[in-house]
Chain length 340, copies 2
Amino acid sequence: MTSIKDIALHCGVAISTVSRVLNNHPDVSQDTRDRVLQAAEALNYIPNTSARNLVRSSSDTIALLVKGVSNPFFSKLIKIIDREITLRGYTLELHQMDTSEDELRIGAQLANERKLIGILFLGGRFNYSPEEMALIHVPSVFCTYTNSFGTLDASAYSSVAIDDKQAACDAVDTLVSLGHRKIAILTANENDKSISELRFQGYKDALEKHGIAFDPNLVANTGTFSDMRAIYEATSRLIRRDSSFTAIFAIADLMAIVAIKALSDHGRSVPQDSSVVSIDGLDLSEYTLPTLTTLVQPTEEMGLACAKSIIDLIKHPGKHRQFTFETVLRPGGSVRKING
Amino acid sequence: MTSIKDIALHCGVAISTVSRVLNNHPDVSQDTRDRVLQAAEALNYIPNTSARNLVRSSSDTIALLVKGVSNPFFSKLIKIIDREITLRGYTLELHQMDTSEDELRIGAQLANERKLIGILFLGGRFNYSPEEMALIHVPSVFCTYTNSFGTLDASAYSSVAIDDKQAACDAVDTLVSLGHRKIAILTANENDKSISELRFQGYKDALEKHGIAFDPNLVANTGTFSDMRAIYEATSRLIRRDSSFTAIFAIADLMAIVAIKALSDHGRSVPQDSSVVSIDGLDLSEYTLPTLTTLVQPTEEMGLACAKSIIDLIKHPGKHRQFTFETVLRPGGSVRKING
């Protein structure tokens, strides 16, 4: 690796001169400055950035690390977070990752490599351990999720989320109140230690509350929140396996939209032949045919809370809080009352 | 502003020692290193980053500057560009901007502030001048647009886009071949010197080719590609103003989806009462009711071309090329043949 000594030898100047150039001191002639910078480039000189980051106390960059960027609920949330972070004088740097990657490992790497003052994690696992969290050396906030399946103490993490179990419960309640008792669920995964599992638990809890037996035949796993072909196929398999359901609870709006298409292709129209309820409240869901009956996440308030939380945490390290938001039912055209 | 001399005085060490610490040389004791770094932080020492960037020839960061991030066509394209850039060993840094902001001004600012080796502009204006382009000091590629309304020589810019005018023409041809002659257009803007204007021109050219008089009453301007309420209202105004049309050409899939909802709310079902054709080929458009008849942009190929173009340009500065892709009609359920 090239040192500043190599540059000094190459240019025939003192090491301290090279230092002065690299630190941009005024007391060096333009000619010498140019020669040193050219040599630094020619010799492929790489300053040690981690040492530099220590002294760059002026960084204003917060990373937003998004897991599963194809999830349409995230698009609006990202826009709001970006606006609110920027409004407050900070810079937001967006990083995408696949759902198969581990956000903590990527976050730790980012925090080491880049001059970040904070990280917003969007769409992560719900099961961090204190050992895993210790990998992240900058203030961080979990957006849209909590640590329900993990071992973190509430004093050790910050989060902004809805109550996923409650929202799922409300969705099922809505269907039951309309007379439905054969209620299928369209979920990404039954035990992913994340959002799907929590909403699946809420579904089961609600069935139990209403004295409805849980039927594994009415569970359709899509394996994804965003791959529409996979969602379509999971719904089609459900219909072929057991078409006795009168309603579907889809854990996300996009799943509901695709399910309605799959039902239609199998000769079942919504809401005449099947009712559909979901969670998200995407803007799009007000413009589909039929419009969705959905539990709306308060995206504006959540995005604002994400921005405020990370900035508060940067200013007051260690002062953790968990914010939980309520969803609100937006009646649409995808449900109907039946004779229960 | 704190200099390294101030730090040296504060710690009682030589200036060259401070330099060695800040440049992470091994020949300094841990104790001295710690004291210098603490002093640098305490004194709020800010290294001059632009000088540093010059010597950081090792940067691998390409910025993707997205204008109008709510445009759903961009979501998939961004994912592909990110994947292809990462596969090739570079880092992609995503920056969002409002449609009201100017991408060249923001791009110039980013190139100055951050250690970028290239910029991918996604969704910009079509009318740059050489003077404007001179603001950008790093290799850059225009994604999804060309310089149709500008004064740049083809040797002076790189781009990856579809032939917007031709795609619009193909959309109208499709409707005419089904017997339609009263064809309305749903566009964002008639003269934005950008994508809307080019597609609007294609629409007018196609009408002329088929001997159909252009009727300004059949033009609906939404002012936006992504605000669904505005698209809904523009469509509703069109229906109230002149409902004589038998078909709508919507210049983007999302506009078509919202238009179908507006038509439905005004008692016109698609395709029985109105046909609808659009441009994009979003995955979603295969799962709406009805599915869209749309001219599909080859998103995979375009994303790959964007990644390859910027990397080629970084390796061979000044070697500019414009790539133009063809759209392909994907038949859906939103059109029907009428007695023309």
